[in-house]
Amino acid sequence: MNKTVEVRWHGRGGQGAKSASAVLAEVLFEEGKYVQAFPEYGAERQGAPIRAYNRVSDAPIRRRCGVQNPNIVVVVDPTMVESANPTEGSAEDALYIVNSGENAKKLRSRLGVTSKARVLVVNATKITLEELGQNRPNAPILGALSNVFTEVPVEAFVNHFTNKMKTLPAKTLEANRRAILRGRDEAVFA
């Protein structure tokens, strides 16, 4: 990774996109990368669309402005594919990670991206409903991301994510672990 990789997250307030971006930063920091994680703050409350960002680099990161041209776009909530305008400013060859149960081809056309873009689809909502009984898409999304940051073992994602919730019962932590691993395994390129 010679240049800085910029990530933009689209989620809803309270859904955990901010935490997930922080976990991604922590995992990559542990792997020796230079990282930033910063959410966009507004007056919006629970449920409103929010954005969060990461920068990842092998060299110190100096710029601190918002990410305008992300290399990776994460869409945490399936309803935001159109409404949140996830392609705004992103590079033509950007990578999209989308939480969706939709057919991959259809999703690609809904996003309106060219063949240069890569689209990784994971039904994170379904996975967490099955594993946790709740729609908390963060864990499978992080699992899917481990397919992108291949230099990091998936266990690092598991450890950091469950560490954030270490006061929860062991059963819940184990369910999250399964959700991350399923996210990694079930994510498919469209």
Partner: protein, 393 residues
Amino acid sequence: MSNKIKVMTSGNLAFAEAMRQIDPDVVAAYPITPSTEIPMKFADFVANGRVTSEYIAVESEHSAISACVGASAAGARVMTASSANGVALMHEIFPIAASFRAPIVFGLVNRSLGAPVNIHCDHSDSMPERDSGWIQIYCEDAQEVYDSVLLAVRLAEDPRVLTPVFVCQDGFITSHCYEAVELLSDETVKNFVGERTPQYPLLDTDAPVSYGSFTMSEYYFEIKRNQMEGMNNVLSVYAELAAELERETGRNYRPVENYRADDADYLIVVMSSAAGVVKDVVDELREEGVKAGALRVRFFRPFPREELASLAKGKRGVAVLDRSASIGGTAPLSSEVKSALYALDMRVPVQEYIFGLGGRDLYAKDARAVFEKMIAGDYSEEVRFIGLLEKDD
């Protein structure tokens, strides 16, 4: 055992962590975005016995700074934090704190002043306090925030200085950005900051003094002049302290950061977090053969005018980027830079810019455009605005 550890944290949390290690006697604070995390985190340290401090959860920012002044005059080591309207509400008390020579260390997380209400960064809250008699240090990132808090405690309490300090960081951009910061061990920090030895503690009932006297024209001037001496000593005392801390951290921040300025033809002068992207652009332009450079002003009070003038001397152009306005006058940083450059034998063209009000970002393309205009010799007597929605004439 290593005495350093690198952790993921944010500007606010780095400030709070430094507070925990400093373990001040008293913290009095009131929540306001985006500095709220600082008192929140500190209250948590108190609630879990991780500090020996007392936390006063006051009913307003005005009372926060008033309680800080009281505790500091009493002889305690005191810290607090605030932003924006909170800072404005405290305004009355800042000059009093400085006149009391109360060495309070203050985490000022920069945010715009309403109206309209906006929670994002600009420097319109701290700039009005530039004449309040406080030292102002502006930090670029969370690491610098952490290091600066440690320095600020020593600087404020130094008997040659005895002046309160604002440690400023950009709201959200720095305060809420999660990044790696190298922390010193608790013991190293304790040894570095030592203990406060107040000269005239109010709590010394055997040698009673009165603070906050009334004085007409007979002595007011002399008291103010005496106070100025503390500020006059800041930069030399700071150099000693910065060298001392450098032995622990390997980092040393100059009052003005010189980024490839020595042989540069064109300079951008800027403060705080926006300096990063400017430095990136300097590197890009250098690769293209343009002699670009940047100066990041870290101390705004006292203003390091000699250092700045010597770094800007002989340049073909200087652009000053202010993150606040002085409506009807010259923006604060431009005003200081122009004033400092007046001492030079040969004039340096200076272009004033205002950017980033209310949290609007400064992007690489913006910094590049600023350099390009200088290279083209395109200067205006008027202030220019970066990233503003404007109709073309």
